[in-house]
Amino acid sequence: MQNDNLPNEFASWLTINRACNLNCEWCYANPERFKGEANMSLETVQKSINLFKGLPLKRVILIGGEPTIHPEFLTIVKIIKTAGLVPVVITNGVKFRDKFFLSESLRAGISGITVSLKGSSDEQYAKLTGRAAFSDVIVAMKNIVESGVDHNLSITIGDELGENFDDMIAAILKSGTKWFSIDMERPLIICNKAVPSKLSPKQMADFFVKIYPSLERCGIDFVLKISIPFCLFPEGFIEKANKQKRIVSGCHIYVGRGIIIDPKGKLLPCNHFCDNPLGELGVDFSDEDGYIRFRNRPDIKEFYETLASYPHKNCQFCHDWQQCGAGCRVSWLCREASELISIQEERR
């Protein structure tokens, strides 16, 4: 595919439902917001796969809601696999407590499973997700590890998990995972308005710095997913963590690498824009050529150019820009630059 405005490779997500068997308050796809919304139809799955097949991409990431409770989950996995693509899933893990469901999923073609861990006890799960599912998720994680499938345990830090983080580390160890990632809670967009995460970006940076020694001591491989500007961290922290191979930053949205299709066939810039699509499959484009034309539309080009631009004057000369990118762009919809950029600690 030759086009100067487009990346050489894409990453794809199919948001196949909005329903979930948990009810996490902080979730961008909180089911309360999508009550009654239908699952993605097999027709939309097939149309999406037809588009993906024409583009330079390999993996199709299934996400929700909770993708494993889609009634056609296994069929969708098979459709992706049969098309020569690699299906992976992001899940709360509850369904994989059932070893038979796990083996059926693997047989259908699932090649990777990321489990999102929401708490460190049944009590905390009940409080945060509405269901005391911790024990189920730990069993599920053990099943997944035992199966040998590529896996990750993902923990998103919000204000609720900030306290007693040692309990989270104990839960991670209990799961038997080979490695894990620590992510940051991101803002939501609700009713066309971006709503900031409860923890400020600076609080998030301080928290990561605080827990880092405990993470180093826990003996399991881990990464920190940094979605805030590097200049919010104390001098030397990013450099040290990078040297230890602990940092992942950046986002597909900066270069428009992600193709995210929601249950209705709408194209989202990322799942945090869940009610705000860029376009629609079958209306704005259907195949590779149509997608290239769509991406060259002036409004779409302007959208991605704005996202790739320097959001603050300090970023222009910052030597960390290409790795940092000034953090998650949704934060720039709901926070002032003074909360996101450290003027005192700017890195030039």
């Binding site: 066309n192 997913k225 597909h252 009610d275 704005t306």
Partner: protein
Amino acid sequence: MKAQDLLKIQFKGIAIKSDRQIVGMKSTNNHDDCDCDCGCGGGGNCDP
């Protein structure tokens, strides 16, 4: 509302055009075969 309109209305940055592409940092050893470059940590098992 379309995403492009939302961005126009609510973006609080100053949007100075950049010729330095953001590539992110992936210092992890895990999933060395990762090709999606989406900031997921590798393997494509990521939440956008």
